[in-house]
């Protein structure tokens, strides 16, 4: 399994903050994004190709090609605006 988290605007617009995904041959973050964006409208609009998505894997900033494995915690969020 994979834990996926959403924050801020993504959390609000996708209507969920956290879910478990079965590992379906996800080699990298890219595969997870592709899988999720196939869910339809909001998912494609927010997580689809060309969207500004920041990524964390196991609480470290990551990229689309970052490899993932079962048990990982993956998070998607808009560009951060702290400080």
């Amino acid at each position: 399994m994979l834990t996926v988290q959403y924050f801020a605007r993504f959390r609000e617009e996708l209507g969920t903050s956290r879910e478990q995904l079965p590992m379906e041959g996800f080699e990298s973050v890219e595969c997870v994004l592709k899988h999720l964006s196939e869910r339809g409208d909001n998912w494609a609009r927010i997580l689809g190709d060309g969207q500004q998505v920041q990524i964390a894997v196991n609480q470290d900033m990551a990229r689309r090609h970052t490899p993932i494995k079962a048990g990982d915690e993956v998070a998607f969020f808009p560009p951060v605006t702290g400080g």
């Binding site: 801020a8 609480q59 470290d60 998070a75 969020f77 808009p78 951060v80 605006t81 702290g82 400080g83």
Partner: protein, 158 residues
């Protein structure tokens, strides 16, 4: 025990924190502090409430990582990052970064570096509520990304 990374809803006292930061380090000659505050106007609209969301766990890890990088890069005696989360109002303090060193150059650069990376690498998000009750997420500033890049460039040239 002085905690160098704190994510909290409570406000902080600058004097108190700088004093604690210096405690036990007699060779400190310079302390640079940055306090970020809630402006009442952002992009030409009044702000009534600012809400800070974060990613618990990752936030602390990201901040500690940035702090360590600053210590690797400059000779710093001590440093501190406090970031508030939850609801804040105009003029409230949001963030404190304080850096202590023997000399001022390292203290200024270290504090500036930490703030620039905090802005781009720490998982915080701001949501504004306007006086009419409408809300909006604050957009990331392109200039924050550029501010971070100047340190990468400086590092390559070093």
């Amino acid at each position: 025990m002085f905690e160098q990374i704190r994510v909290q809803t409570d406000d902080f006292d600058l004097s108190h924190e700088v004093k604690a930061l210096r405690e036990g380090h007699k060779d400190i000659g310079a302390v640079v502090s940055f306090v970020g505050t809630v402006r009442d106007v952002n992009d030409h609209a009044d702000v009534a409430v600012l809400e800070l969301e974060h990613y618990p766990g990752m936030t602390e890890k990201a901040l500690e990582n940035i702090r360590q990088k600053a210590h690797q890069r400059w000779p710093l005696q001590n440093s501190l990052i406090i970031h508030r989360v939850g609801e804040m109002r105009p003029c409230d303090q949001i963030v404190l970064v304080a850096v202590a060193s023997r000399h001022r150059e390292a203290a200024f650069e270290g504090a500036h570096f930490i703030m620039d990376f905090l802005k781009t690498h720490a998982p915080f998000w701001k949501k504004e509520t306007l006086p009419d009750g409408t809300t909006r997420w604050v957009d990331a500033r392109l200039s924050d990304d550029e501010a971070k890049k100047k340190w990468l460039k400086a590092s390559e040239n070093a």
